[in-house]
């Protein structure tokens, strides 16, 4: 059985994941719409998952993929609760602009 990393190389996957993670960080810092911030967090989680699978193939070990499975479950729970919180915020404030959430700023 041929290892796909022989033709691609682990470093290409590291660079792809780093760039994808930085795009996610940029979305969190740049946008004000809270849903887009959520999408950026999903992009970051996916970058890390991709690297997990790449190193799982590199070590020929299934435990990395099991970890990705758990992180997907946690991401699904996080999105459900987070969107419920966003809906509650939208009911109270009428917008989901993250700049409006500054009651704790003092």
């Amino acid at each position: 059985m041929d290892n796909v990393l022989n033709q691609i190389g682990i470093e290409n996957y590291i660079f792809l994941s780093v760039i994808l993670f930085c795009i996610g960080v940029f979305g969190v810092l740049y946008r004000r719409n809270a849903i887009i911030v959520f999408m950026s967090i999903e992009i970051m989680l996916n970058a890390v998952n991709l690297l997990f699978v790449a190193f799982s193939t590199y070590h020929q070990d299934a435990q990395g993929q099991v970890f990705v499975f758990f992180s997907m479950a946690v991401a699904a729970a996080e999105v459900a609760v987070g969107l419920a919180i966003l809906v509650a915020i939208f009911r109270n404030l009428g917008s989901i602009d993250v700049a409006n959430l500054k009651n704790l700023k003092g």
């Binding site: 660079f15 999903e42 992009i43 758990f70």
Partner: protein, 173 residues
């Protein structure tokens, strides 16, 4: 240049460009559509690794469940108009500078570190088919049975919490 490498480059270009468009499109619905394409291309990366189980679960969970949740929330809030104001210029400049610095530092670390990877050897045994993955996950001795059960507890707690949070309180006052 082998076929696999060409597929990898095409998939990576799709992933990065759609992730970028997710951040930059003004309409949140368009962002969600771009995000679906991004998730599908990441599932393509998983298929390239021959990780069938993760590719399937990724399509079901991300492109299915999470995107439906996001789209329903967007429609519930009626946010498909493009009236978002930008952050102040100072904050945006800070965001750009910090992201460029993070990206540059991480990339230069991995470019300059010259890791000793050697050859990618294959043991030849099957380690990532759905059957083997299930055995690793639910093995009696050193499996992941307890975390697996805790994930189910986490999911049901998240479900109850989401229902409670988004329920309308008509008995207030």
């Amino acid at each position: 240049m082998s076929t696999v490498l060409i597929i990898f480059y095409v998939l990576s270009a799709v992933t990065l460009s759609t992730a970028f468009m997710t951040i930059f499109s003004r309409n949140p619905i368009h962002s969600a559509i771009y995000l679906v394409i991004c998730f599908f291309s990441i599932a393509g990366h998983f298929l390239l690794f021959n990780a069938q189980f993760l590719a399937l679960v990724h399509v079901i969970v991300y492109s299915g469940a999470i995107m439906i949740l996001l789209l329903f929330t967007l429609m519930l809030m009626n946010l498909n108009k493009e009236d978002e104001v930008h952050k102040p210029r100072f904050t945006r400049l800070g965001a750009v500078i910090s992201v460029v610095a993070t990206c540059g530092i991480l990339l230069s670390i991995f470019l300059r570190s010259k890791p000793i990877v050697g050859d990618y050897d294959t043991t030849g045994e099957d380690y990532q088919s759905i059957k083997v993955l299930g055995q690793v996950l639910l093995d009696q001795d050193n499996g992941f049975m307890v975390p697996f059960e805790f994930v189910s507890v986490l999911l049901i707690v998240a479900m109850i919490g989401a229902v409670l949070l988004s329920k309308k309180e008509n008995s207030a006052k």
